[in-house]
Symmetry: C2
Subunit: 140 residues, 2 copies
Amino acid sequence: MVDNVVQELTSDESWKLLATVELGRIALSVGGQPDVFPVNYYAGDGKVLFRTGEGTKLSELAVNERVAFEADEHTDAGGWSVVVKGSARVLVSTGEIAAADELPLRPWIPTIKYNYVEISVDEITGRRFQFGPEPERYPV
Amino acid sequence: MVDNVVQELTSDESWKLLATVELGRIALSVGGQPDVFPVNYYAGDGKVLFRTGEGTKLSELAVNERVAFEADEHTDAGGWSVVVKGSARVLVSTGEIAAADELPLRPWIPTIKYNYVEISVDEITGRRFQFGPEPERYPV
């Protein structure tokens, strides 16, 4: 069994890696049916922020604020993946929105997205992995 | 409002794009808490397949088989994202496992993953988007 090809990252390492990427995926769930969307985001200060227009994401968040969020990056040799879990809420106060407007959060798709959604992160986990051939599987 | 920068894809287009990428993310949900994992996968014939060892993914799937699965790709100019929703189950019959062994599903991480998980897809949606500056936001 080769175990050193998957390395658990510390919370600090995971936050640092999250900050190096701009596209992640948010997982939501309504009535036991998961949903997942790509979003471009900003991560820092224990929070993940993204923006969204009116639509499915926002209506699903209104039903269940619990979310998971993932970002990853890889080359041919290996990669990393960071997953956070937390609660999401739409920013409503003018002060919060003004502060969010100052963040380096560049929307990639040129449609109007009025809403900032902020994930308060309860848990962050990260793994770094090396790619390689799988060991022989033996009959179970 | 610029709408032509986001293009809805047909089911056929979405399946074709899914087949061009090997890394996706599966979203699960247990008791209203979503979870999300990167997986390398094979997509075709109305199904998405991936392999996994014993672990959180497998135990969460045992509680709730409903899943969402996403893959995407982007350059500086634009990208696409495909999302499927469906039910996941672990393959158990020798015949199914033998057939799955023939698929071009290359595990990236060299640890032993005995289980094939197959998502029967109920719904597939895809979007292609162009990146660009956001239009001016006006006060709501």
